[in-house]
């Protein structure tokens, strides 16, 4: 088998395993990454929400926030894991497509 094919299989395996990135932090009671807190966490950490931060944080409304579907915040880990895998497939699909397009543009040698 060609190495590139094996790499693609490796990516697929990683996508299927990706919910570990959701389940492990939950299991070990780890919170957000440092500097990536939401509004509630910010208030409990420093007692207030910095004014500029509050304004800018709502600037962009992502279609799949935090690799989940909107309104799924209260769902359990199995549902969130499924959403996580779907997010990985969608995100990686678009990423791969974009790189192929860029690659095509860049490898078109002008004569």
């Amino acid at each position: 088998m060609k190495t590139v094919t094996k790499f693609w299989i490796g990516i697929a395996v990683l996508i299927i395993l990706s919910p570990l990135g959701l389940i492990m932090p939950e299991h070990f009671k780890a919170g957000a990454a440092w500097g990536e807190w939401g509004a509630d966490e910010m208030v409990s950490l420093v007692g207030y929400i910095p004014n500029g931060l509050e304004k800018l944080s709502g600037l962009w409304s992502a279609p799949l926030p935090d690799y989940a579907f909107k309104g799924w915040e209260e769902k359990g880990l199995p549902d969130l894991s499924l959403a996580y895998i779907i997010s990985a497939i969608v995100g990686i699909g678009i990423t791969v497509l974009a790189v192929f397009l860029i690659g095509k543009m860049l490898t078109k040698k002008d004569n």
Partner: protein
């Protein structure tokens, strides 16, 4: 390490967009010159790998989470300029589609993870593995050390960018406007957790894949292809 919207003030955000613009331009130029059409799938795999490895949040029990970037491996296989493009695409999709990293911080996040990280990792790897045979253990160790140091440099930079915000932006009453933590808190937090845990993930992933490729397809590890 994905700085969200609101943590960096407009000055910092603008500064890093201005810094990244010529870097992206040079990256396109270099890659246009060196990338062969048959290497495009590998570039796409590099971006996909970086994307998915960043989804593996590793916990510090009772504390924060973090992750590897995979960018050092992409730089070893395709060169740092191609890695810059691959990781940039992954970061932009993560910001736009999933709100992972702010859109105002795309410049800063790309500077840390798509520029400094692959370049630091690539040159550390080249320096340590200099003149060693492609199948040598020194290559594996070089890949691990490069992964560890490069991720920590990127984390330190991120901590620095967070930490200068209180100095740059404050209300009349002394409240922070953006990231509320100064250098004395942000720098040790970002560096400490990456040196303790997340840096090792980047190190192990990078070293293991290089080790695997030595057996599977050593041609990919030959230098001077890109």
């Amino acid at each position: 390490m994905h700085i969200p919207d609101g943590y960096l003030g407009p000055t910092t955000c603008g500064f890093f967009y201005v810094v990244m613009a010529p870097i992206w331009a040079v990256a396109s130029k270099v890659v246009k010159k060196t990338l062969k059409a048959k290497q495009v799938p590998l570039l796409a795999i590099g971006a996909a790998f970086s994307f998915v490895i960043m989804m593996f949040n590793v916990p510090i029990p009772g504390g924060t989470t973090g992750h590897a970037v995979g960018g050092v491996l992409v730089a070893i296989l395709l060169g740092p300029w191609a890695a810059c493009i691959a990781i940039t695409v992954a970061l932009v999709v993560q910001a736009l589609l999933f709100g992972d990293g702010g859109i105002t911080a795309i410049g800063a996040n790309c500077f840390n993870m798509a520029f400094v990280l692959p370049f630091a990792g690539y040159y550390i790897y080249r320096f340590i593995s200099y003149n060693s045979p492609v199948n040598s253990n020194r290559r594996v160790i070089a890949a691990g050390i490069a992964g560890y140091i490069a991720l920590n440099i990127a984390a330190g930079l991120t901590g620095f960018e967070f930490g200068i915000q209180p100095m740059l932006h404050k209300t009349a009453l002394g409240q922070a406007l953006y990231c509320p933590y100064g250098l004395n808190a942000a720098l040790p937090a970002m560096l400490g957790e990456h040196m303790l845990i997340f840096g090792w993930v980047e190190a192990i992933v990078t070293a293991l894949v290089v080790k695997y490729l030595q057996k599977q397809d050593p041609g990919l590890l030959e230098e001077g292809r890109m």
